[in-house]
């Protein structure tokens, strides 16, 4: 087994092991549809959805903003920067800047509102 396959297997086992600590969340991707300068509004994009298993590492709630740190498998999501938002427990969060992706696991901060 190659080193990459071996690491991927370890990551898969870890995500299997956390079982119900993980959540199924829905990442929402919006196809860029441009901007209409006559109406001065963004053209409504088409959305597509990817459901994947995600571990919420921690949550910060400072009464104005809720920030969650998410960890998920790269193989489940692909390019995280293609997504705009994520729905967790029925609440929509915006993806924060600078997600980290080591090609096995993606770490991303998300914010409500």
């Amino acid at each position: 087994m190659s080193l990459r396959a071996s690491i991927q297997q370890g990551v898969d086992e870890a995500f299997d092991a956390i079982d119900d600590i993980a959540k199924m969340v829905t990442f929402i991707r919006k196809t860029d549809a441009g901007f209409d300068f006559s109406s001065r509004e963004k053209v409504d994009p088409e959305s597509c959805y990817v459901v994947c298993k995600c571990y919420v590492r921690d949550t910060e709630d400072n009464s104005e903003v809720i920030k969650k740190r998410l960890m998920l498998k790269t193989i489940d999501i692909g390019d995280i920067t293609a997504f705009d938002s994520v729905e967790i427990d029925g609440i929509k969060y915006r993806l924060g800047p600078n997600p980290r992706d080591d090609s096995f696991v993606v770490y991303v901060d998300v914010y409500n509102g």
Partner: protein, 136 residues
Amino acid sequence: MGKYTNAEEQAYSVFALAEWKAEDILTFPANYVGKDITKDYIRVQVIPSGEGVNRISVSGILMVDIFVEAGKGTKALTDIADKLDLYLCNKSFKTSGPSVTQLFNSSLQLRGLDQDNPGLYRGVYSIPFIYTEVPQ
């Protein structure tokens, strides 16, 4: 509408023209989040920061950030600036009502590699404007 909205509407109207769209230069406003931009593009913002001739008028600068591929010289950037001049320099725009936005002469600054994306080279095209509305 107020002077800020009207000034923006009139300044943006040029980028809604079919002729501008035919130039095939991707055009976005400030505070726009886009994805997968793989060609040269511009980012437009109206900065109504100056005084007007009356309380319902305002002056300011129309700033256009021009982003082109880094490492290939400045030709693409100046080409875009010249095209902007054709549509903006010494032009007046009017949408509806007793108001007009008048643009003056432009200038171009080369700012070097973009801080957020060093794969892009950035220039700033700016052109002062006056939005004037006559009280009814």
